[in-house]
Structures are given as structure tokens and as C-alpha cells.
Symmetry: C2
């Protein structure tokens, strides 16, 4: 460990995926906390809730009824942030003589937003589910991604193979929007702390007409790295972390879980494909199982860490739905987990004043976080309580 001194001093670390620095203050964990406490979520939920708009057979907010689905079920969000059809808007071209054209820039955004449940059981979470139960979730992600890819996509052969080989689940088929969209973001908000308004296990899938800021930054950074060094940023990074070991939480043949060097959230992790997987459609059947294992492993460890249903936002970054050969080749499949808890089930890290106005800041180091997450494998803590 050449950098043991960083365990003790304030320093900045560089995030090569976004190109931004963040402040790390390891000694700050000593300060007493008298602020807001989160509500720990240990309440026992029923397996079926007649009022839940995601449970099988129930009515949704706008009147549709859910089928008696078995594992995953997908539908268009009743309150989508983007829609397929709306009034046209033609942005004004930038014009030196018109300050408004420089400073009040807008562009239309269309798309389609889905909700996708992970299981029929209202009371379960990914941490409670087995690897075998998580596989259908990844298959649903893969089918929804594959069916939304452009017909000229560099990975269209892989998409065709995936659609052929993955069993059809009619409850998770959503058709295709009329217009080709540019990007798909699969993400989960888990827990009330992360703005989730329904505990029924589910994620969201937003497909949009533009490449959003975060994936655009990552693709740009990865592509610059590839041009400068002739290798892939995340490929190099996964190899390096496997050698160093100090930030590794867990791994199997296909996936590596690390607390990244540049992690912002206290127990943030990155799940990285070990080989050059560009998108879900590149995963072999075996890799799908390995990915399910990785998701099972990290969500269970999270819950074990503070013996609570651990809140987080997570999401997949992969090749855009409509992209060039270069973008597809630059993409390296990975999943981010951003959990807010810092010290216990009730004390979180706030991303506020200094963070919003100046720069991201964290207290414990990623190495300390990785050590804690390595130490809490084993059975889900709730199992032995039941």
C-alpha cells in the first residue's frame, strides 16, 4: 500500500470517468452527529398489498390493471418524465446579435419511460432474492434494451441473438416506440431516502431522444483514454484493482465489485465486466448468471452492513440505443450503486453546501469502505431473525 498516508490526510482524487476531482477528508468521521436521522426500514411488509399499484392483479393510478404476473412485469409509467408525442418546438439558432439565443437555450426531449417490477412478492428485495430469481430481471433488461436498439446499431447481431435466446415473458414485453430513441437508462431508486414512493421491488427504464450528461461524459472520457493509450479505461482499471486488491469487495469469473478510487458516496461501488462487454446484449448465458450473482452479492452485503434494508440508487451504463461504431466500441458495461448511508442505518451523508457550491466531498476512504463491505458477506442478516 504505497498510499497509506492518504488514509490520514485530506486530499483530492480524480474520477477518470467524469473528469472531475473530489475532496476526501478521512479524519472527519470523528465528528459527532446531531443532525437528521433516517428512518431505518425494518418494518415487515405483507407479501401482497391490495393498495400497491405494482402487485399482481391490482389497479394502477390511471385505471389499468396489472396481470397476475409471475416474476417481472413492465408497463409505460403513468407519469412519465418524457413522452412519445408532444407539441413541436424548434430551438432558435445561436446568433451573436441575439443574447437570448446564447443564454436561453432549449431543445425538445421525447421518449418513453417504463416501470419494471423485479418480483411478484411485495415484500422482497434484490437482497432477499436468489441468483436464480435475479436472472429473469437481467433477461427482462436485456430484452427491453435489445428491442429498443436502432436497426443500424453496431450490435444488432448480438441483439437478434439475445431476443432469440432469452425466453419471452409476455408480462415484460413493451413493444417499441414509433421513433428511434438515442439512449436508455435503467435505474433503481431503493428506499424512501432515495425518493422511492413504493417499496414493491422495481426499477425504472427511461428511454430518451438525447444522450444525457452523465453517459455522455463517460463515453467521452473513455474514448479519450482509448485514443491516448490504445486500451480501455475500465479494462485497465479492473485489472489494476484486481492486482491492488485493497478496493475490491468481491469478484467472480466475469464481474468485479470495487469501491472505486474516486467514489463519492460513502459505500459507493462499481460493478465492472472483466472482459469487454459493450452492452447487455453481449452477455453470454453464463455471464448473465454471473451478473445476477454480483447484484445478489452487493445488495446482500449492503443490507448486512448496518442490518437494515440499505437505500441506494443504482443504474447500468452501456452502449447507447442508437450509436456509432466508435461509441459502441468505447462503451464498457458497468453498474453504479450510489448509497447515501454513512455510519449506521440512520446517519447518512448529505450532498449539500460545499458539495453543491464547490466540490463533492467524502469522509471515510473507499479503501475503508471496501474493507467493511468485504467483512459482511454471509447469509442475509434478516434470515436468522425470522
Amino acid at each position: 500500500m504505497p498510499d497509506a498516508v492518504l488514509d490520514d490526510i485530506s486530499h483530492r482524487r480524480f474520477n477518470p470517468l467524469t473528469g472531475a476531482w473530489l475532496l476526501v477528508s478521512p479524519h472527519r468521521t470523528k465528528r459527532p452527529w446531531q443532525g437528521q436521522k433516517e428512518a431505518p426500514s425494518n418494518s415487515k411488509l405483507p407479501d401482497y398489498d391490495p393498495k400497491c399499484f405494482l402487485c399482481p392483479g391490482n389497479k394502477r393510478a390511471q385505471g389499468d390493471s396489472n396481470p397476475q404476473y409471475k416474476n417481472t412485469f413492465a408497463f409505460v409509467n403513468d407519469y412519465s418524465a418524457v413522452k412519445e408525442e408532444q407539441q413541436a418546438y424548434e430551438p432558435a439558432a445561436a446568433n451573436e446579435d441575439d443574447v437570448a439565443s446564447l443564454l436561453l437555450q432549449a431543445q425538445p426531449a421525447t421518449g418513453r419511460c417504463y416501470v419494471l417490477t423485479f418480483a411478484a412478492n411485495h415484500a422482497t428485495t434484490l437482497a432477499d432474492m436468489t441468483t436464480e430469481e435475479i436472472v429473469p430481471v437481467i433477461q427482462a433488461w436485456t430484452r427491453i434494451y435489445a428491442s429498443h436498439m436502432s436497426t443500424s446499431h453496431p450490435l444488432k447481431a448480438q441483439a437478434a441473438r439475445a431476443l432469440e435466446q432469452i425466453p419471452v415473458n409476455p408480462d415484460a414485453e413493451v413493444g417499441k416506440p414509433k421513433q428511434q430513441l438515442r439512449y436508455m437508462q435503467i435505474f433503481e431508486n431503493k428506499g424512501v431516502t432515495m425518493g422511492c414512493s413504493n417499496p414493491h421491488p422495481h426499477c425504472q427504464v427511461w428511454t430518451v431522444s438525447n444522450l444525457p450528461e452523465e453517459p455522455a461524459k463517460e463515453i467521452d472520457q473513455m474514448s479519450q483514454y482509448h485514443k491516448s493509450h490504445g486500451r480501455h479505461l475500465l479494462g485497465d482499471y479492473a485489472k489494476l484493482e484486481m492486482e491492488k486488491e485493497e478496493r475490491v469487495v468481491w469478484q467472480n469469473e466475469s464481474f468485479l465489485i470495487v469501491c472505486p478510487w474516486w467514489a463519492f458516496w460513502p459505500f459507493e461501488v462499481l460493478v465492472i465486466a472483466k472482459r469487454h462487454v459493450r452492452a447487455l446484449v453481449d452477455l453470454t448465458d453464463d455471464e448473465t448468471v454471473r451478473f445476477a450473482e454480483a447484484i445478489q452479492e452487493i445488495t446482500r452485503r449492503y443490507d448486512n452492513l448496518f442490518e437494515t434494508s440499505f437505500p441506494y440508487s443504482s443504474g447500468i451504463h452501456q452502449a447507447p440505443l442508437d450509436c456509432t461504431e466508435e461509441e459502441a466500441e468505447t462503451s464498457w458495461f458497468h453498474m453504479h450503486f450510489y448509497p447515501p448511508l454513512l455510519r449506521s442505518a440512520t446517519v447518512r451523508k448529505f450532498q449539500v453546501g460545499y458539495e453543491l457550491l464547490a466540490e463533492s466531498q467524502r469522509d471515510i476512504t473507499p479503501e475503508q469502505a471496501a474493507a467493511k463491505l468485504r467483512a459482511c458477506g454471509g447469509e442475509l442478516y434478516r434470515k436468522s431473525l425470522q
Copy 2:
């Protein structure tokens, strides 16, 4: 209003200060909210709390005693995120043959963090204070900023004048760190929702050895605008918004309060100096009063909006402590307010899944927010309840 259509459709807006786009989904406010509720902060606090570590005369966490101060009082944070002295760390130079030097980059960070109270009264807030009571706060900010500027600073004459003219408050004098620091961030976290652990009215002042990400982005964007157009970005913007009026909340001779075109938080505002003020030390005595008026006005309107003590993080952006002539000339004094509440005292906007993984997203438009903030001037709602 040429852009009335934007009131109704999903679109992206461009933030020229950071160079990033965000997603605006005006129709989304219609969705019902069943998620987390914030605790409204209407509890009546005592004017003096013997357990508060900021009240006059009390003992602090690490044993020091506060003086019987009258208005503002400043001290070095007992749990600073950066310190003046620490073990040395020499970052390795980037080296093509050593992947770690490319992907595990760190640099040391030093500095000094202060806490600055706004008033002796434990139960007050900026919204409760009069303009005359806020003036000493701005004077304390100005003196602390002036006394930390480098001796070669392009605004050193202005600093000398400010230090001479602003009355000395011994309770707010903090001396000067041994080493010259690069940047000072003055910010306030208000309310438990914003990670504030003590309701006693106060802000923080972090002085750091580097230029943090957010001000660096802004200086860069403002400097590019200046080079391309020969005018100041925020000067042009303030003029444009005064003409358009639809995003203006309030103004006086010296300051303009707007819900910026690119606002991310539901009721985010930007307080902009109308003339080219580069830093606090540029303010005339009259402008200091005008700035105090602006702060009073926005914090009171915030509280009136949902009849609650409105949580927010706010902070000042101005010329760095140690900077070139060009950086100083590019800087344009402004203050950001980032408040999380969306629909009521208990329903906030969450910056979670899509926002963290893909792109910032907002529901109501800045124009709708400005209209609401324009409509809630007048006396502080609490006054008539007392």
C-alpha cells in the same frame, strides 16, 4: 412569451455557467406523491439554548468557550474537512507505463474551515432578521474574505479599503493561515433536510488550497463567453432577464433575483450583482445594504411560500483568494440558493436515480417557480402568528 410551448412539453435547457444540460418535465407535477415526507420545521426554538455549541458563552465540542458575542462570531471548525498542516504527500507524475499513475490520481488538499454565526439569538434565521441586522453578516464575510486574499491579488487595493472601512468585530476576526490559500467558499446549509445539525443561524467558510470543481467550471465558462462575445455572461444575463421579466422574483438598484433559465432545484434562485462586482471587496457601503436587502427578501419569500422555515443550501461565487488578473476580471459576484422543497413544506424533490445516473431533471418550470415567489412577498408569515 415566445416560449409558451415550453410550459407544456418536456425539454432540455442549457446552463451556460456549468456547460451542462438538464431535463425539464413540466407536466410531471401532476403525479401523486406517496413517498417520504419531510418534517416541517415550525417548532418554536428558545432564544438561548444552554446545549447549543454556537450560543454566546457556551462551551464547544472540543472544550473552547464562545465569547458573549453580539451579532457575528467566527471560529475554526472543530471538525474541519481540510487542515492547515498534515503529512506531506507527493503525487506520482502521470506515466504511460504505469496505469496506476493514470487511474489512481490524488493530490493533497489543505486549508482552514470556519463557522460563522449570523446572530446571538438561537431562534432567529435570516428570514427573521432585518436588513440592518444582515449588514454585519455581509461585513463579516467581506472582512474574512479580504483578510485571506493574496498580497499579489488584483483586487488588493479594494481589500485594503474594505478592511479600513468596515468596523472591526473582534468576535469575527480569525487571523490568517500561514500559507496562502487558493479559494474561499462561503455557504450556508439551512434545515435538517440540508444536513444542518444545529439550528443556530450560521454559515461555514471553507478556504482551500485548490480551485474546486464548481467555481472552476463557472470561471471557465464565463471566460470563454467573454472571449467569444466581448461581454460578461452574467452581465448579459441580468440585462436579458430584466427585459424579459418572466423569471424575475425581485430586484433593487444593485441586485437582481431570478429563477435562472437553467435552475435545477424547484425554487432555485440566483442573486446577481447588476454591475460588474468581482468580489465582496468591490461592494460599496450602499451595495452592502442592497445585498442585505436581497438576502432578506429571498429568505422571507421562501419561508412564506409554504409557511415553513424553508431549507436550502446557499453560497457565494466570486473571485478566488489567489488569482490572476484574468480570473478576477472574469468573475461576476453572485449567490446561489438551492432549496429542495417542491410542492409543500413536506414534499421535496429528490436528486436520485435518473438524476445521478443520467441527467438533472426538474418538474415545475423556472417561470412557474418565479411567479409563485413573486406572489409571496409581504410580512413574514410567522409574524402574524405570534
